[in-house]
């Protein structure tokens, strides 16, 4: 069998008394687009954040392209990176797109994009700039290069954040509700960029509330409920004929919403 781009085994995560993720196994093939859906509090964002250790899981294994992430148990009982060099190297190869963009406000859009290529990968500034310009053109921000993030709309900021992620040539991109913080009329432009990435054959895990988008773009839909995978399969089957009662109920309320509205 082909090696998975990302494989999660037995991930568990609790916040105090509350167990948010109760043992999840998930593997993404290279080029696969997986949509993680579910109600608020089902653990989908937490799961995504556990993948690159933004959140420290309590149990589990994380394997990138055959390389297991070296974990050790900290004093608080959670798992942390045992090897600084490994986690920074692996993180450089995993893009992460946040709900709130999290651009660095003291840098222009262009500087945001070249920051990591220059300082983490050590790419010459000139080359990084050329590449950044191409990427910004691709996400439709060619004329906003010299602008500071605060002067951009939410949709523009998110597209800039996606360009910043792409500049690292990530093998996998994790997107955490990339359109949930946007005004409805700005959702489309960001989804358009993500759709383009999917068509390029990039491996992506997307937490989303945009059901139509998930149905059109994802190869596989994973429905999470109460910290477990309740249902998964190709979108045609999950959306067309869900087996689980909870998934059916969830889809009934969420598919009824017009495109572009979330939460």
């Amino acid at each position: 069998m082909e090696q998975a781009a990302i494989e999660l085994r037995g991930i568990k995560k609790r916040f105090g008394e509350l167990e948010v993720i109760k043992g999840i196994d998930l593997a993404a093939r290279r080029g696969e687009v997986i949509a993680l859906i579910g109600t608020s509090g089902s653990g989908k964002s937490t799961l995504l954040r556990c993948i690159n250790l933004l959140e420290a899981p309590d149990e589990g294994e994380i394997i990138f392209d055959g390389e297991a992430l070296d974990l050790k148990r900290g004093r608080d009982g959670t798992l942390h990176a045992a090897n600084r060099e490994q986690i920074t190297r692996l993180r450089a190869g995993i893009g992460f797109v946040f709900q709130n963009f999290n651009l660095w406000p003291h840098m222009t859009v262009l500087d945001n994009v070249i920051e990591a290529p220059v300082h983490v990968l050590g790419i010459p500034r000139k080359q990084a700039l050329a590449e950044a310009e191409t990427l910004l053109e691709k996400v439709g921000l060619a004329e906003k290069q010299r602008t500071y993030p605060a002067f951009l709309s939410g949709g523009q900021q998110q597209r800039a954040a996606i360009a910043r992620t792409l500049a690292m040539h990530p093998a996998v991109i994790l997107l955490d509700e990339p359109t949930s913080a946007l005004d409805p009329e700005l959702v489309g432009e960001v989804l358009g960029v993500i759709r383009q990435l999917a068509e390029e054959g990039r491996t992506m895990l997307i937490v989303t509330h945009e059901m139509r988008f998930a149905r059109d773009v994802a190869h596989r839909v994973v429905f999470l409920h109460a910290g477990r995978i309740e249902e998964e399969g190709p979108p045609s089957r999950v959306f067309g004929n869900p087996r689980s009662e909870r998934c059916r109920a969830f889809l009934a309320t969420h598919l009824a919403e017009p495109q572009g509205e979330s939460n």
């Binding site: 690159n52 933004l54 600084r84 920074t88 190297r89 692996l90 993180r91 450089a92 190869g93 995993i94 893009g95 992460f96 946040f98 709130n100 999290n102 651009l103 660095w104 406000p105 003291h106 840098m107 222009t108 920051e115 990591a116 300082h119 983490v120 500071y148 993030p149 605060a150 002067f151 954040a161 910043r164 992620t165 690292m168």
Partner: protein, 228 residues
Amino acid sequence: MNWQVMIDSFPALAEGALITLELVVISGILGVLLAVPMAMARVSPRPWLRALPLAHIYFFRGTPLLVQIYLVYYGLGQFEAVRDSVLWPYLREAYWCAIIAFTLNTSAYTAEILRGAIQSVPRGEVEAAETVGMSPALIWRRIRLPRAFRIALPAYSNEVILMLKGSALASTITLMDLTGVARTIIARTYTPVELFLAAGLLYVVLAFLILGGFRLVERRLNRHLQPG
């Protein structure tokens, strides 16, 4: 009001003002250099590292500046090791004692201002840096400190103004700063109102210059903020 004495003393007072400005600028710069590692330690996840600068911060925030100046000026010479050291030619001079006292004092306040600023850098911006594979040192250098300096700037300009006024205490250890010059002339001419008025005006000018400088720096560093 004796205007003539004010005019006559102006050159001497201006020289004193220069000494005052020198004291503030030198101890201000040294104070920031000391404050940065202290502030970084104060936000560490490790409790022992957090506790490390506490004694310094509490002592210099909790005691009067005048006491600190006396301790450095009269206290250091008590130790033979200090008297024998190569630094003694400096340490026995009032000028360097004042610099040391001001530096230690302002570093404690600046460390607390910076700590607050570091803590108010949004968590997500640091997470974004982590997700692109930046090492902790790189995140400090490229994201957290540059952001914190910008956030701290308005509060820090206030600290510098307070330091400017506190520097008048240097005159108590024979330093010829602005206040020191004024007091010396008064001892000769018995015109305290004229001289302190003139000195006060010069302090206002200094404060104006310092604030103007900060406004320039702020406009340059915070141009990324939305206007209005």
